[in-house]
Homo-oligomer: 328 residues x 2
Amino acid sequence: MTEQELLDPARAPSREGVLRAAEKVAALLPPTPLLPLEVDGRTIWCKAEMLQPIGAFKIRGAWHRLSDLTPEQRARGVVGVSSGNHAQGVAWAARRLGIAATIVMPSNAPQAKLAATRALGAQVHLYDRASEDRDEIAAGLVAQSGATLVHAYGDPWIIEGQGTVGIEAAAQLEARTGQRPDRIVACCGGGGLAAGLALACPDADLYLAEPEGYDDLLRSLACGEIQSVADLSYPTDCDALQTPRTFQINFNILNGRVAGGAAVTPAEVTCAICATFEKLHLVVEPGGAAALAAVLAGKVPVTDATIVTLSGGNVDAETFARLLAAAA
Amino acid sequence: MTEQELLDPARAPSREGVLRAAEKVAALLPPTPLLPLEVDGRTIWCKAEMLQPIGAFKIRGAWHRLSDLTPEQRARGVVGVSSGNHAQGVAWAARRLGIAATIVMPSNAPQAKLAATRALGAQVHLYDRASEDRDEIAAGLVAQSGATLVHAYGDPWIIEGQGTVGIEAAAQLEARTGQRPDRIVACCGGGGLAAGLALACPDADLYLAEPEGYDDLLRSLACGEIQSVADLSYPTDCDALQTPRTFQINFNILNGRVAGGAAVTPAEVTCAICATFEKLHLVVEPGGAAALAAVLAGKVPVTDATIVTLSGGNVDAETFARLLAAAA
């Protein structure tokens, strides 16, 4: 591929693009640990993305996108759309590159995510998750300012950047065990991480975990066209995975490429949070625990070379204490 | 040093011994992450030892000791003495090497530590922390069985093994920043980790953090001879640091080598646990948070090349939820 093709905003994301992103990410951030966890006598491998500087894998795609902006684009700023982790990723990358960032965030996002995004210097534009369309709001802000839209998942840079999780984890698994991953279980909202992993690890079976009430992507893949979440006010602690629907760019990569998956219940998510606490001593947020929840519930069978994403850890102390206490 | 000198049970631990231990540990376990944390505009570096397979740094010394046992010694088993983390370290190494392990543990140890030690296949011998002397109990068990005593801190292998934290962290800091650590803040119980770090990083100032009521080592260093904890029933959540007194082998290394330190209050420990939760998304147990507590309370000043040990994460869910809720 030519450099022009790799930088074309209308491109289909590619494995070559993921590898290019992985080099950029490796130059900036040390790999997050890949930690073994025993499940029913087997060892699975958990990718601890809550240990990124912003507490989630979203720093990868945001860095890949923002660092490729031209000087002219940088001067006009960026607009992000996010439930909170992508928000911090964009804010972190923007601060590092000296770019002004505005992030459209739901008014009921966790306080931890709102506070952290503001602390990184971004302007936060709040919207009501149930009644407003965040993509329309973002489009309006972009039209006013000429800023670059940095969507949370429907963007080739973001997909390639999130795919670096797979490149990194596969290298770590091979170094530890001599095996290539044959199965990857991903927490899934809009499908940015899932699409990136599909490109990064073409030989691994890909499984998706979505929260109960928000399994629009699995339904979309089952019926062959994009479906939406029926009720965006359906209660869930998995705020990071409450996306209304996937985008065509994600769907095109995932359609026919996903081996299976499951919707996970609140009780299954709590169980995964407690296992992560007790066995790995990591703080995982509800949305970041969905993949492990599906595995521990037996909804996704595992192999001896299975990688599970623990995708973020930005959860309010009150919520975490409540979930731990509920399970005790 | 000759191999005989490096293996002499009566030896004074040496930097050469620490380097030998570091090679053995590196062959077995990947490095735990060294994570940046902003404190008052400075970046300090936190060594995340709760990410060891047993949730604490104690796996290092236990592995170094048990893997050096002769076939005859292995056949007779080992006896450990521990509040819970060393217990798991010894049990883990014993299971891996096929050695029978008995661990003398306080009856009020966290359930998480008791259950994990038993799950690793060790026999647990309970004692009452306030009224019984665990070293006497262990000596009795050793006399009966001919097993090798693996003390939690008063042992040259254990000291050398724990010192590998410093070798590993110094290499990571240098790779990330180009700097050698000039200050190390250690959580301190009996002084095994502290003595190991003193040997591992001879150019760094060493600071110790002990819990309020259990600052016997700092008092010992202040007056030049070993002091004991006055009241072993003094309430604390820092169960890992409730050692009655240091041993001569530790004191000999630390005397004149410690730049300072502090006793930390329960509120300061809670504050450090919450900061670790919120900023690093790690679960740290109260005793493992003592060093960071001293830093965040301003009791130990930091530099631009300061390493802080987060030494373990084995805490019961109820305790952790209570501490998070108290701070919220």
